[in-house]
Amino acid sequence: MARVELKNVTKKFRRHTALSDLSLDVGDGEFFVLLGPTGAGKTTTLRLIAGLDTPDSGSILIGGADVGKWSAAQRDVALVFQYYSLYPHYTVRENLEFPLKSKHRHFSAAEISGRVARAAKTLRIEHLLERKTDKLSGGEMQRVSIGRAIVRQPRVFLMDEPLSNLDAKLREILRAELKDLQMKLGATFLYVTHDQVEAMSMGDKIGVLNHGRVVQIGSPYQIYNQPRDTFVATFVGSPAMNLLSGVLRDGRVVVAPGKLEIPLQGAILSHLAPGLDRVTLGVRSEDVLLGPGGGLEGQVYGVENHGVEKIVTLKVDEHLLKATVPARMAIAVDSTVPFTFNPSKLRFFDAQTGANLGSVKEEVHHG
């Protein structure tokens, strides 16, 4: 197992800059998730580490060694893709043996069968070993694909959206299994996804990527609670964080005059740069509290039942904002309800750049 470092990596495809000055440090034994929308540069990053592409500038280190001149095989990393690349006419056992029988490796038959048995046990596919892979379900096929990576005992696992072709229930199950697997193996995982739930639930650390740049690196807790900018704030979390644009006036953020004004307490005020007049206020739906006491009122625009809770959309003037409430709470569409914000959970962003105005100074500790 090994640490993976990217230092100031830039990669261009003709005129398109796929990655720009990207630096990452994935610790030995860490589950690191690269999260971002389509086209953010996630897959390009994986391909560069695997040695399938070369960067235009910058360096890539695996286990402390610069691997810039190493071939893909020499790097000893395993890639697992979204589409299971299995040999259809072979059994699961044959598929698992295949990576161990390559010319460059010299494993004894006993070593090969031992590794296959251990991988099959870890992934709970022992009962499938003699089955042809075209007789497997999607979830089973993806387990076998992962098994093919495991038997090699690579220094690093690179995973490119391995769950995105599976249905929601299976994704949920495999997500926990993958995390469990990584903990058992103590392996370094670099996992690419566009799904923020996967990133939050599996990652020790998340690197959020957008337009080929790293926007923020942190624990799931840091990413969720102290998003670096409005992109991270809205990309992570469901429903997306409410963003309201407002004017700073007499120690208040005025979103809608007389109807949606939020007084600022001293600590927050000092975070906001003097001379700034426009800010974007961010608040997550669970920090919009329905009930009296805040002097705010909204009209119920819609109610979504999510079983364990409801998500209520409130309309104040032309602004829509979402609140999470317990499922038991009865709320009628078009009724007017009082609400307030959890003041310690308000976030403020620069209206022009979207940068979080508080996160630079605040250090968050968790657990």
Partner: protein, 369 residues
């Protein structure tokens, strides 16, 4: 606008039934979601209502009229597909106006109707654009506008937002629901996404393998699933289900998870209710959603010690895997409540949120404590 009734509808493809004895009522102005995995018959049901698919037996009534032998065009309903079927050479305005052009409505009436619909869909500023200049969400808004402009008796939608990305789906589902509340068009909406179904529906009809499993409000199907299929299809994370048994205890009922992996104390009436059902007390599947697995950091009466395994921090809350002996149950806790894997915490199942199913049929015993 009108109600829709399906009576004993059967549909076969060759030897295999796609829909079996389907009985369903969609009331006037209701938003009904047909939910199920792929191949469950939901889309075929929708297409049968639209007249795009013949049925082998049974009746389909729209507004009280049997329509199963009528052409699709004579049923006065509008259909919205997953892929926006827009005319690429026409502007958004012309695409929406298109269904009215065939009628004899005056230009002024057409214009008024198009603008009304555009306002409801918040695409007034996009009316002069061609589809190629629109985003996916806006294209689907135009497609919905084209369906609504005719003021059909019913609106049928087949995964209309399935092709959009997660954030846009979240926005669109709130908007579609809002449009429905304004229009009050009787709507049948097909999806495989239970979040969408829960969020939008007045009533959800869950299908599996051509057979209707349960019809009810989102709260109903979430809290009182009739069988294991519904219990595990609705809700995320998925409901925990472990095999177990009940035993009479001293002033309580013992609930055994697995093969006595864990013994939990439940009210004494539970044992009697299981026996009353003439159900073997050893053949139970015990189901509980993550929020029904209650966790305490200190030893608490009625709670048993369990080891935390994986912790998934999802932001507003965590999902924590707890080891009840060899049985893993997932619990929903406040963010950061359980600090790390390996910690020992105390847990019990909330009896009001625990479900008991027959292991062989999968049917719920409908025991409410």
């Amino acid at each position: 606008m009108a109600g829709i009734v399906l009576k004993d509808v059967d549909k076969y493809f060759g030897e295999n039934y796609v829909i079996r004895k389907l009985n369903l009522e969609i009331r006037h102005r209701e938003f009904l979601v047909l939910l199920g995995p792929s191949g469950c018959g939901k889309t075929t049901t929708l297409r049968a209502i639209a007249g795009l698919e013949d049925i082998d037996s049974g009746e389909i009534l729209i507004d009280g009229q049997a329509v199963q032998s009528r052409q699709a065009a004579d049923r006065d309903i509008a259909f919205v597909f997953q892929l926006f079927a827009l005319y690429p050479h026409l502007t958004a305005y012309e695409n929406i106006a298109f269904p009215l052009r065939a009628t004899k409505e005056s230009k002024a009436v057409v214009d008024q109707r198009v603008r009304e619909v555009a306002k409801a869909l918040r695409i007034e500023t996009l009316l002069n654009k061609r589809p190629s200049a629109l985003s996916g969400g806006d294209m689907q808004r135009v497609a919905i506008g084209r369906a609504l402009v005719r003021r059909p008796k019913a609106l049928l939608m087949d995964e209309p937002i399935g092709a959009l990305d997660a954030k846009l789906r979240e926005e669109m589902r709130a908007e579609l629901k809002h449009i429905h509340l304004q229009n009050e068009a009787t709507t049948v909406y097909v999806t495989h996404d239970q979040v969408e179904a829960m969020a939008m529906a007045d009533k959800i009809a869950i299908m599996n393998e051509g057979v209707l499993q349960q019809v009810g409000s989102p709260a109903d199907v979430y809290q009182y699933p009739v069988n294991l299929f519904v219990a595990q299809f609705i809700g995320s994370p998925i409901m925990n289900v472990v095999n177990g048994a009940v035993r009479p205890g001293d002033g309580h009922t013992q609930v055994l998870l697995g093969k006595d992996d864990a013994v939990l104390r439940f009210p004494s009436e539970l044992y009697h209710k299981v026996v009353e059902h003439r159900h073997a007390e050893d053949e139970l599947a015990i189901g509980v959603r993550p929020e029904g697995v209650l966790v305490a950091r200190q030893s608490t009466d009625g709670y048993i010690p369990v080891e935390a395994h994986i912790i998934e921090p999802l932001g507003p809350y965590d999902i924590v895997d707890l080891k009840f002996g060899r049985q893993l149950l997932r619990s929903r806790t406040a963010s950061g409540y359980v600090e790390k894997a390996g910690d020992v915490v105390w847990a019990r199942l909330d009896e009001k949120q625990t479900h008991f199913f027959n292991t062989s049929t999968g049917e719920s015993l409908q025991i409410r404590l």
